[in-house]
Symmetry: C2
C-alpha cells in the first residue's frame, strides 16, 4: 500500500512536471491565441449545468450567453482552431461533465486543404472521445455553414463549397450512428445558389449580427429541450 | 404639427438610408472582425443593469461573465480595436445607459506609432463623450498594462514601454478631473524591471489564464461596489 502510494505520487509528480515543462516551452503547434484562450478556459472550468458552445472563430465571435439570455451558455470557441486543436484542449470541458455541448468545426481544416474524408474521420473521433469521456452530456453536432467566395477574402477557401457540402453529407449519418444529435443549420444561411447569404457576412466566411440571430433561432429548440 | 411630423419622418428615413448605405458599402476603415463584432453588439444591446467591459483584444480574450460569475458583465472588446474605433461603435452601448463601463484601450494606438499625448487626448475625448451621453453610468478607466518585448513577437511595440508609462501618467489626472474612476492595474502585472511578467503571457502583450485571475482581483472591488 505504501509502495502503491509512492508510485502514485511519482506518477502525479511526473505528470505535473510534464505539464509545467510544456507550459514553459510553449509548443508552437498552434498560435498564441490558442494557448491564451485554452489557459483561460482551464481557469474558468465547466460544470454539470453548463451548455458549451465549442468550435472555431464562428463560435468565438459571439456573446452566446447574451444571445440566449442564459448565463450557463459558455463560449469555448477559438479563432482559427482546427479539430485536432479542439481535441487537445477539450480536457477541461469534458472534465466538468457539461449538460450539453454544441460542436461546430471544420472550416480551418478545410482551409488547410485536408480532404472531406479525413475531416469527417477526425470529427468522428472527436465525437467518440466526447461520448466516451462524458456519456451523460448531450452532444449536438452542427453542420458546417456555407461560405461565399464572391467576397474573395479567403483564398484558401476558394472552390471549397463542395468540400463543405461533402463533409456535411459524410458526418450526418456518422453523428447519428454515434448517438449524438445532428443539427443541419446549413440551409438557413444559404442564398438561391447555396452560398452564404451576402447580407449575413462581410468576408464570405464569418457572420454579422443578423447571422447570429438566425443561428440562435436554429439552436433555440435544442438549447431549451 | 403635420409639417413637423413629415420633417421627423424625412429625417428618420434619411438616417435609416445612411445606415443601410454604410452597411452595404462596408467602409474599410477597420478590419472585418471589427464590423462583425460591432454588428453583433448592436443586436445584443445593453441595459441599465449591464456592466460593460470595453476595449481591445485584452478585453475580447476573456469570458468576463464567467470570470466574475455575473451574467450582467458583458464583453464589448474587439481584437485590434483603437480608441477611434471604440468611439465609433459605442452608440449601442451608451444608448443602453449601463450601470458601469470598464474601459481599457490604447495598445493598438501605441502600435500604430501615435504619440502618448495624442493617445491621451483621444482617450480624454472618449471619456468626455461617455460622461456626457450617459452621465449616470459609472465609468472606470483602467491603466494600460505593461508589455514584455523579450518575447520579440510584436515588432511595432518594440521600445514602447515608456510610451505606455507616459500615457498612464497623462491619463490618471485627466480621468480623475473628468469625474471617472481611475484604476491603476499596471503594477499588478509587472516583474522587477516593470515589464509584463513572463509567466502571465506567451507573446509579451496578451494574457494567459492566470493573468486574467490577477485582473479579476484588481477589478472585483469596483465590480461589487
Amino acid at each position: 500500500m505504501n509502495l502503491l502510494r509512492k508510485l502514485s505520487c511519482a506518477i502525479l509528480a511526473t505528470a505535473a512536471f510534464t505539464t509545467l515543462a510544456q507550459t514553459q516551452t510553449q509548443p508552437a503547434k498552434y498560435n498564441e491565441l490558442y494557448y491564451q484562450r485554452a489557459s483561460i478556459f482551464d481557469e474558468l472550468g465547466v460544470d454539470s449545468t453548463s451548455i458549451v458552445m465549442l468550435g472555431n472563430s464562428l463560435t468565438h465571435g459571439c456573446e452566446w450567453h447574451e444571445l440566449f439570455g442564459m448565463p450557463n451558455v459558455l463560449n469555448r470557441g477559438i479563432n482559427g482552431d482546427v479539430i485536432a486543436g479542439i481535441r487537445e484542449r477539450i480536457g477541461s470541458i469534458v472534465a466538468g461533465r457539461p449538460a450539453k455541448i454544441f460542436l461546430l468545426a471544420g472550416a480551418n481544416d478545410v482551409s488547410h486543404d485536408l480532404s472531406a474524408d479525413s475531416i469527417a474521420t477526425a470529427l468522428g473521433e472527436l465525437v467518440d472521445y466526447i461520448r466516451q469521456t462524458t456519456p451523460d452530456t448531450k452532444l449536438y453536432v452542427q453542420s458546417m455553414l456555407p461560405i461565399n467566395n464572391s467576397f474573395g477574402r479567403y483564398k484558401l477557401m476558394a472552390g471549397k463549397e463542395d468540400t463543405i457540402r461533402r463533409i456535411n453529407s459524410l458526418i450526418e449519418p456518422m453523428v447519428k450512428a454515434k448517438g449524438a444529435t445532428w443539427i443541419n443549420i446549413h440551409p438557413a444561411f444559404c442564398d438561391a445558389e447555396g452560398n452564404l447569404r451576402s447580407d449575413l457576412t462581410n468576408d464570405g466566411l464569418h457572420l454579422l449580427g443578423p447571422g447570429y440571430l438566425i443561428w440562435r433561432d436554429q439552436l433555440l429548440p435544442y438549447i431549451k429541450e
